[in-house]
Amino acid sequence: MKEFGYDRAHDVQGAVALLGGDPEARFLGGGTNLVDLMKAGVERPTRLVDVRELPLGRIEFSPEDGLRIGATVTNSELAAHPEVRRHYPALAQAVLAGASGQLRNMATVGGNLLQRTRCGYFTDLTKPCNKRTPGSGCPAIEGEHHNHAVLGASEHCVATHPSDMAVALTALDAVVAYESADGPGELPLSDLYLPVGDTPHLETALPAGALITAVTLPAAPVAATSRYRKVRERASYAFAIGSVAAALDVQGDVVRDVRLAFGAVASRPWRATTAERLLTGGPVSAEAFAAAADAELAAARPLPHNGYKVTLMRNLVVAVLTELAEEAAR
């Protein structure tokens, strides 16, 4: 491991100033991803600015304004928070579906959003990777890709975003608040992650050197009937091969409101806007759910070994929406 400098920040502006827009420096939250990448040599920062002591550790909720989650709130704290569990169950479920107890105790909400893909080529310095070394190529396309993207990928990169939490946040219209050298700013989470295109190494729309300070969720009664289902290759402690965050409000046999996002299928959490449009105002039925899923997945461009994800996502959408409809009917 390369030697690096270490500073601890005590206030938000101070943290941004300490980083000083240095492209070789990194903010350190829980370190559950960054430190691993440093050990593997994928990240080689000259300096770390530790933001764990910043006063960003609160979760606030009001029925009018919704939820505000400080960036240094740990995953464990978020998942255990009673108002989160009551008003945004999909979010609590998504957080609990990720990693392990020890990791959730360390990992922070801000860091979770900025974690890097777990693509086996990205994390291995002996292999080419356009995300790590622009222009070196994407061996996953011809190689091992059975858990890679089917939506929104490009010929330059087919990696997926690994977060579970971000999938639920995306479905629930989260907004990311940040602090930069130019002052505070906000971005809808759906705009945080850049399209892959031919620049897979450029991952977010945050200004250079910006620090995520909070994530807010609007008040949304529909979120109270929400759910996160994750499928992975073992019962725990693995990244998703497909996941769905959904919220559903029904009136009689009609869908009044629906939120739907997919995980593990794209370089970012995938908001299923096409499916949402088809479902809203339509019937509550497995056939309608399947048709909406099919419409969303019509854009899928599977590789030779990940076509199963299309079937999996369709089945998951039908299963989760059916469960939510039954829950809403009770």
Binding site: S236, T311, L312
Partner: protein, 707 residues
């Protein structure tokens, strides 16, 4: 038939549950593992591994690295001391990967090309990762598939009896199916680690291995030393599973200590372990079973294909698994192999038996389905009276007792044989069974037992406790042989100075070591005269079982078992969850029920993990692995492992001088087949390719492409 954990008389240690004698030291951290034994002046070595799959090292650009902080040396083929290459090891010619830095050829990704030594591990690692090695790469072939043109049958890897084709032709029912298992890795919790230093003209190595005498003898040969000039100790070992023989970490540490005249430690990283310590070859297996309508076998044909490296032949003998199991008019088995540009595979817990049992015991289940016979009844109908291939009598054989007791406890009698008819919410439920067998081997060992002046006893034997509890089991054996209590025994193991002994492998360690200890202890008891004081140095008796092992009557000696599993499958998501497993074993005399149960349950957990999770993926373009770490290489997590029950039936063999059979591996055998058979029973779909991943379950249902 009496069953279920017989309890021995209180006066005897053997058969009584005993916690590990080193348990307190382990849970308090007092027990030191090789990588954490402190030593003054210790330098740290870091291996640099090849990144091309075939070619030559053109240059190792060491000069810039030698200027880095703390760097002491860069050893490579241009400057490394010469090693002896022409010796013969105990298991044949040694793996050439031990010939560290002797030439510029690179036969696979992960071949060691340099060792960087520095004052701290961080400095060594940073320098190793900075070191530029240039290669002249050549085209490589790492593609393993059935019928590869390079496939050959090694000498002694094929056996037959009877006229196979004619028996198949006259069979009313034939199963002809292909099964595959992927590349699997041992991934012991403790990585390989060694400290080497010269002390008074002796090479002293503190190591993590499965046989300190084996490693010492091999290091002596490699470095052209007298056997007495090398001492290897391996006090505590965090898992081995076949991967901890002589490996590049010991050789490189010894080489660097020789060059630098300083103690040197080399510890492998998890990622390096995927390339440097062996693994289980993938297999493609074709099984053909021919039977009459009533399920009586006429023909058993099992042909397995595996891979090895271009530099060394190791064959995963999967086809041998069925040799002791079933009667048939004709048998044919062959284990074939192809040389590819990949690291050399090695023994991995239940080598041959683990993949072989998946194929054969799945095929038996398919035959039961085709004949409309219960899978256990099918095995009853094909129970042999003597070895099916050898005609030799069995030393003891209680396979059917295992099935009988297992079926009773598992509730097998109530099973509806129809597949795909049990549903619980989104889950389809099913149950499956499979037979298990593992050879009972013995190997010569020596032991020394000392009656101390204070009334205690000291046993010295180059045994290894790789986490199995063998140290405790041997303490119990010694206590009974000496007519004393375990608390009065000092069990000293894993020091090559204690003399020749078999390594921990082949499930023969405890049997072979117990034999040597018992012989020495009996001799010692005869010399102890009640009321006569012992000299201050005590009295010592030594044993060597070479002659006795050689005189063992020729018989079919095996442990047997019956495996049961219940699974739940969501065919909409492809998820498979094992709900319960039961294993009943016939494995001779059980020395320590507590640790024995741990071995059986641990083995069954391996089988579950093999069935559903484990798979190393090789990137065809680079020739190296993708995701060579424990995030990429999935094994069963706690949440995947349900209530697993293991127990045993009586399996006495009065004619056997030891009465102990091995228990370290048989738990793995058949477990994956039981799970796969249960998945068929749940869904009606046969999964013949491991692991049974969600995508495979989904594709089998939906007919989508991929796999």
């Amino acid at each position: 038939m009496t069953t279920t954990t017989p309890t021995a008389a209180a006066s005897r240690a053997v058969g009584t549950a005993h916690t590990r004698v080193e348990g307190l030291a382990k849970v308090t951290g007092a027990a030191r593992y090789a990588g954490e034994v402190p030593h003054p002046e210790l330098a740290h070595g870091w291996l640099v591994l090849a990144t091309v799959a075939r070619g030559r090292v053109r240059s190792v650009e060491e000069a810039p690295v030698l200027d880095m902080p703390g760097v002491l040396a860069v050893l490579h083929h241009g400057n490394a001391p010469r090693l002896e290459a022409g010796y013969m090891g105990v298991f044949g010619p040694p793996d050439p990967v031990l010939q560290l830095f002797q030439h510029d050829r690179v036969p696979y990704v992960g071949w060691p090309v340099a060792l960087v030594v520095a004052e701290t591990p961080e400095q060594a690692r940073e320098a190793a990762e900075t070191l530029t090695v240039r290669y002249d790469a050549e085209p490589h072939d790492v593609a393993f598939f059935a019928g590869h043109s390079g496939m050959y049958t090694p000498e002694g890897a094929e056996e037959s009896r009877g006229d196979l084709e004619s028996e198949l032709a006259s069979s009313a029912v034939v199963v002809d199916a292909e099964y595959t298992t992927p590349e699997e890795h041992h991934s012991s919790m403790e990585p390989h680690a060694a400290i080497a230093r010269w002390d008074g003209g002796r090479l002293e190595v503190v190591d993590s291995n499965q046989g300190s005498r084996f490693v010492a003898d091999e290091l002596a040969k490699l470095f052209s030393l007298d056997a007495e000039s090398v001492r290897v100790r391996s006090e505590h070992v965090g898992g081995g599973f076949g991967s901890k023989g002589t490996r590049p970490h010991q050789v490189s540490a010894a080489m660097a200590a020789t060059v630098l005249h300083r103690p040197v430690r080399v510890v492998l990283t998890r990622r390096q372990m995927f390339a440097l310590v062996g693994y289980r070859s993938p297999t493609v297996q074709r099984v053909r079973l021919g039977a009459d309508h009533d399920g009586r076998l006429r023909a058993v044909d099992h042909v397995s294909e595996c891979l090895t490296s271009t530099v060394h032949e190791f064959v995963e003998r999967a086809a041998d698994f069925g040799h002791p199991l079933y009667d048939a008019n004709a048998h044919h088995t062959a284990s074939r192999v192809v040389r590819l540009d990949v690291p050399t595979p090695t023994w991995m817990r239940a080598p041959g038996e683990a993949p072989g049992s998946f194929a054969l015991e799945s095929a038996l289940d398919e035959l039961a389905e085709k004949c409309g016979i219960d899978p256990i009844e099918l095995r009853v109908r094909n129970e042999p009276s003597v070895g099916p291939l050898t005609g030799l009598p069995f030393s003891s054989r209680n396979l059917l007792a295992c099935f009988e007791e297992g079926a009773r406890r598992f509730g097998w009698a109530d099973r509806d044989p129809r597949p795909g008819v049990r549903r619980e919410g989104r889950w389809l439920l099913g149950t499956g069974t499979a037979a298990s067998a593992f050879p009972t081997l013995s190997a010569p060992s020596t032991a020394a037992v000392t009656a101390e002046a204070d009334g205690t006893f000291t046993v010295r034997i180059t045994a290894a406790d790789i986490g199995t509890g063998s140290r405790t089991a041997l303490t119990q054996i010694a206590a009974d042989a000496l007519g004393t209590t375990p608390g009065r025994i000092r069990m000293r193991i894993a020091d090559s100075d204690f003399g020749a002994a078999i390594m921990a492998g082949g499930s023969m360690g405890t049997r072979s070591w117990a034999w040597a200890i018992t012989v020495a202890a009996r001799a010692l008891r005869e010399r102890l005269v009640p009321g006569v004081a012992l000299p201050p140095e005590g009295i010592t008796e030594r044993s060597d079982t070479s002659a006795a092992v050689g005189a063992l009557t020729e018989k079919e000696r095996h442990a047997f078992g019956a495996q049961f599993a219940e699974v739940a499958v969501d065919v909409g998501t492809g998820e498979v969850r094992v709900r319960r497993m039961l294993g009943i074993f016939a494995a001779g005399r059980i020395v320590n029920p507590l640790t024995a149960r741990g071995q059986f349950v641990g083995g069954m957990t391996w089988g579950l993990s093999m069935a559903l999770h484990e798979e190393a993926t090789r990137d065809q373009a680079s020739g190296g692995h993708v995701g060579a770490d424990l995030a990429g290489y999935h094994f069963a997590a706690h949440a995947d492992v349900p209530a697993i029950e293991a127990d045993w039936v009586d399996d006495p063999d009065p004619d056997d001088p030891v009465g102990i059979k091995g228990i370290g591996e048989i738990g793995v055998v058949g477990a994956a087949a039981a799970v796969a058979n249960a998945v068929w029973h749940a869904t009606g779909v046969r999964h013949r390719n491991l692991p049974i991943r969600p995508d495979r379950v989904l594709n089998a249902v939906g007919g989508a492409d991929g796999a």
